[in-house]
């Protein structure tokens, strides 16, 4: 029964075509910060390697999708506020000064969900249509 509702919901959502491109920012289901929310500014700082903790002080480990991924384009533009080239230049500074490595990359939305589900400190993002109960959504970026 639940499954039928879910399918119906998915069908209804598909009526708005743009919803397919929306991106959900996700964390592990055990992450306590889903109750209070996480500011977009903090997510930007976590993905830029400047901050490494959630608001409750727990460790934050960002996961990234590969270059060219459509969800990544939107995430980088809207949340990180840079072009992919600017982000790459930013990380080049940290990589080649030998100080930090960029966030780990995963291949696709399924791999992202698996990584976030397996790591309590994880934060990631996937296309909103790929969201399921294995992960908790912090917020959705509308295309």
């Amino acid at each position: 029964m639940k499954r039928i509702q879910a399918l119906a919901a998915a069908a209804a959502m598909s009526l708005a075509s743009s919803v397919w491109a929306d991106v959900a920012v996700i964390v592990n289901v055990k992450n306590q910060n889903t109750y209070t929310g996480v500011e977009q500014d903090l997510i930007q700082r976590i993905y830029l390697g400047k901050a490494s903790q959630f608001p409750d002080g727990s460790k934050a480990t960002p996961y990234d999708l590969g270059k060219g991924d459509a969800s990544r384009q939107l995430f980088v533009q809207e949340v990180i506020g840079k072009t992919p080239s600017q982000l790459h230049a930013y990380w080049s500074r940290r990589i080649f000064s030998g100080k930090q490595q960029p966030p780990r990359t995963v291949d696709n939305a399924e791999a992202m969900k698996a990584a976030v589900a397996a790591d309590e400190s994880a934060i990631g993002y996937i296309k909103s249509t790929a969201v399921d109960a294995s992960v908790a959504v912090l917020f959705t970026i509308e295309d």
Binding site: G37, K50, S52, T83, S85, S92, R93, G98, T105
Partner: protein
């Protein structure tokens, strides 16, 4: 865009497919390549080592680097970076070789060969893709050595909406240095420094200080001093020494020995490079909102030795992005400042000081997410060069710079 919170929508069954996360303990290989060419339209000036009509116009801005990192344990990793420069016939050098140990989530201890964090761009100075210029202004970044062997401690911290990083470094460098086209044996002992970076929103701030005890193998030419004692005119004798191809600092040290003959012992002893301190100070601010960016930086260098003149340099730059193109304009200047008192009088007599400024206009075009094409024109104005009025010239550069 408003951010709002809701919990996971249960619109699909939980899927647990076999998926792979790129293993954290894998070998990470990174690299960078700069391919550049230049044209300088004035023969009477040398900007950095750019010279007019140089057949090596292609080698100056051409280099590559390869960096490999391997995680050894949860907290420890090893990194090696090798670089090869066109200017040095692509001889491979080790620019980084260190082991990094995470003391905790926010503190790293590194030891081995590291880059000296003099100024804002110093630790990634070779990585053209990382900034808008073909390379950062020589007015500020004209330090003839970049690495040291030692250790540093990097502590990252956050409070409220501020993030920061504090870096303490200590070590030494025992390798030849090339100054004014000549090589000197050198020992830089007790290389110690502190660097603070603060970030908030689009703003970044950096303050840093480094100090070292410099030893160079420069020396006064005894034959010339002997000839002067025998009654040869000092100007003629020193002129002959310079014309003989003697190293510039050796000539200056010989001249200083002549000029300080009647001076106090402390003045005489100022003009050598035996255990002489050098101090480097840096302040930088930058702002970047993704479309516009601006940065200003000042670098102050104080030399205890009278043979090297203190220097104050700064740059200011603004850039605007138009899609894949970023247009940027920069002013930079470098002013040598002679000491006060007797030492300064002798520095002026030695004609060691210089002053110049550079206006640069350029464009960076991002061909893809890892490759940039750059073109820039610089007007370089030498107000003073070795104590004499200088001239001006234009330098045009283009480069393809990429990272992988």
């Amino acid at each position: 865009m408003r951010t709002h919170l809701y919990t996971a929508i249960t619109c699909a069954a939980l899927s647990t497919g076999a998926v792979t996360v790129q293993a954290d303990d894998s070998l990470n290989v990174y690299g960078f390549v700069n391919i550049g060419a230049y044209y300088l339209d004035e023969e009477d000036i040398t900007i950095e080592s750019y010279e007019a009509d140089d057949a090596r116009f292609f080698e100056r801005d051409t280099m590559m680097g390869l960096q490999v990192s391997k995680r050894i344990s949860d907290a420890t990793s090893a990194t090696v970076q090798m670089t090869a420069r066109g200017e040095e016939d692509f001889a491979v050098k080790t620019s980084l070789a260190f082991v990094s140990h995470a003391i905790n989530d926010s503190t790293d201890f590194r030891f081995g060969r590291l880059r000296i964090p003099f100024f804002y761009y110093s630790e990634f100075l070779d990585v053209g893709y990382a900034y808008n210029w073909v390379r950062p202004s020589w007015d500020v970044y004209g330090i003839p050595f970049a690495d040291y062997d030692g250790a540093d401690l990097v502590k990252r911290f956050s409070f409220d909406t501020f993030d920061g990083q504090l870096q303490l470094n200590y070590g030494r460098r025992d390798k030849p240095i090339t100054l004014f086209g000549a090589q000197y044996e050198s020992e830089l002992n007790n290389f110690a420094g502190i660097t603070l970076n603060l970030y908030k929103g689009n703003f970044g701030f950096r303050a840093g200080a480094q100090q070292t005890e410099m030893n160079l193998d420069s020396e006064a030419d005894m034959a010339t001093l002997g000839a002067i004692l025998q009654g040869q005119d000092p100007q003629v004798a020193l002129g002959e020494l310079a014309a003989s191809g003697a190293r510039r600092i050796d000539v200056a040290q010989t001249a200083a020995a002549v000029f300080t003959a009647g001076s106090s012992k402390s003045t005489q002893e100022a003009f050598n490079f035996d255990e002489k301190d050098a101090n480097y100070y840096n302040l930088a601010v930058n702002w970047d909102n993704g479309n516009w960016s601006a940065m200003a930086e000042t670098a102050i260098i104080e030399f205890e030795s009278g043979l090297y003149v203190d220097n104050v340099a700064w740059l200011a730059s603004v850039a605007k992005r138009f899609g894949p193109a970023t247009v940027h304009a920069t002013y930079s200047t470098s002013r040598d400042q002679v000491d006060s008192g007797d030492v300064g009088d002798i520095q002026e007599a030695l004609k060691l000081q210089g002053e110049d400024e550079t206006y640069t206009l350029g464009v960076r075009y991002d061909l893809d997410e890892a490759t940039a094409f750059k073109f820039e024109a610089s007007h370089h104005n030498e107000m003073e060069n070795q104590g004499e009025p200088g001239t001006s010239g234009n330098l045009y550069r283009m480069a393809l710079q990429l990272v992988f």
